[in-house]
Symmetry: C2
DNA sequence: CGAATGTTTCGATTAAGATCGAATTATGAA
DNA sequence: TTCATAATTCGATCTTAATCGAAACATTCG
């Protein structure tokens, strides 16, 4: 009865509402200070400090001191994956009283999921890339980028060679809890969003996970990522 | 501060030690009764009943009534994935006082991880398949089975065509918490273990997650899965 | 230096929920 | 039917930990 790693320890750390709120906020991929996280979680700074100490001790978040601030981030990619996983299950098993998407329409439309695009636009992007067979599933059911897809994203300005050298998988599916459909994660998902920022199509909102697209940026997005296969 | 799915709800369900023990036991892939789970968790039947009601209500476990027993299983593959994920993190972030593997040597050697082989033999299997390039990582970093690999497993007696029709991915890596290295999960991992049972190489232990190999079975296993690439 | 801001420590309070004994319901066996 | 076993419900107890006020500590700025 006492074999194996102590999953209760880790799960309990995430299982407190205040801490879960903090972790959700950190899914924005941004480093946040203790005070910001306190605000996000709806608790006082003292309480937040205690929670953050626990999360840090437990290896869930990493802390970095800078001046009189302490910045926190999620400690490891597998933590991100765990939280994504949790969100999917929480969404699926949540009582029906819960609305199918976030209250905030902007959040539902485009938000950051750690470092890639989620929400309606994220799902649209993913499904378009699939339709055009830029992303395909091979025999073993694994997702990968096709030759045409590689050409397409390089044309868009991504350095595929460099991205392939990262230990992180290039293509990964991530269940979108607001849409209940998949969007693109992995190095490719992150790279595409990064490039959209560079092109000035969009920028991160400062106080939430919303991604703000400029009108021109949004038009360019749909021009490029809503094209049909046979165009 | 209150956006998105309620991950705290799910995490808190897993975060209680008694419930975590039950879920770990269910990772054996076997359907267990309430009493068995009570024993496993080290609590009385009343307490277990209350926990199981919560897990069921929360969509974590599925219940099936049979006679005067109630059998419980993990409700969904993504729950299994979540637990595997949690085990990996719990192992990685666990304090060093924790030994690097399970106490029970048999458990460390070969155990069931939901429906596939884990432990030393699981890791050996996975690494051998990789060495012989039966399992390869393609450009996008995704794992898949090679042509030679497909021939090999079909020769072993698996029906690849049927396995590919399952929605479940064929090859998946699963971090082995006792070895801190990967073993093979997914439909292929499950199929291989299944076939080993059929061949009489091994059988599930009745009261733990240990997989008992017969002497002949173990020899056959190492003969087949410890061969070098150039043999 | 002193003032302001960010963070942590300490201590006391309080709320949530894990636990079990006793009793109850359900099913199968004799 | 009667008995035994499995599972649940109820009620009471008790432990854990979340919370915040007050105060201390750290760092930057003027």
């Amino acid at each position: 009865m006492k074999e194996g790693p102590d999953i209760a320890r880790v799960a309990a750390l995430i299982g407190d509402p205040a801490r879960a709120n903090m972790l959700t906020a950190l899914m924005s991929g941004r480093a946040l200070t203790a005070t910001e996280l306190a605000l996000e979680a709806g608790v006082t700074a003292q309480t937040a400090s205690s929670h953050l100490a626990k999360l840090h001790e437990g290896g869930i978040v990493a802390a970095r001191k800078q001046g009189r601030h302490r910045y926190f981030t999620l400690d490891n990619p597998d933590i991100v994956e765990l939280l994504e996983n949790l969100m999917g299950i929480a969404q699926r098993t949540g009582h029906n009283r819960v609305r199918t998407g976030p209250k905030d329409p902007a959040l539902r439309k485009a938000r950051i999921c750690y470092d890639h695009l989620a929400g309606e636009m994220g799902v649209a992007l993913f499904e378009n890339l699939q339709q055009r067979q830029f992303i395909v599933f091979d025999d073993s059911g694994e997702m990968r980028i096709s030759k045409q897809g590689a050409a397409f994203v390089q044309d868009f300005g991504l350095d595929l060679v460099q991205m392939r050298q990262m230990r992180r998988p290039l293509c990964r599916e991530c269940l979108d809890w607001s849409m209940r459909r998949s969007h693109l994660a992995g190095a490719l998902g992150a790279g595409l969003l990064q490039r959209m920022f560079e092109l000035g199509w969009a920028r991160k909102s400062n106080e939430s996970r919303v991604i703000d697209f400029t009108p021109t940026g949004e038009k360019a997005f749909y021009d490029l990522f809503a094209a049909l296969p046979n165009n």
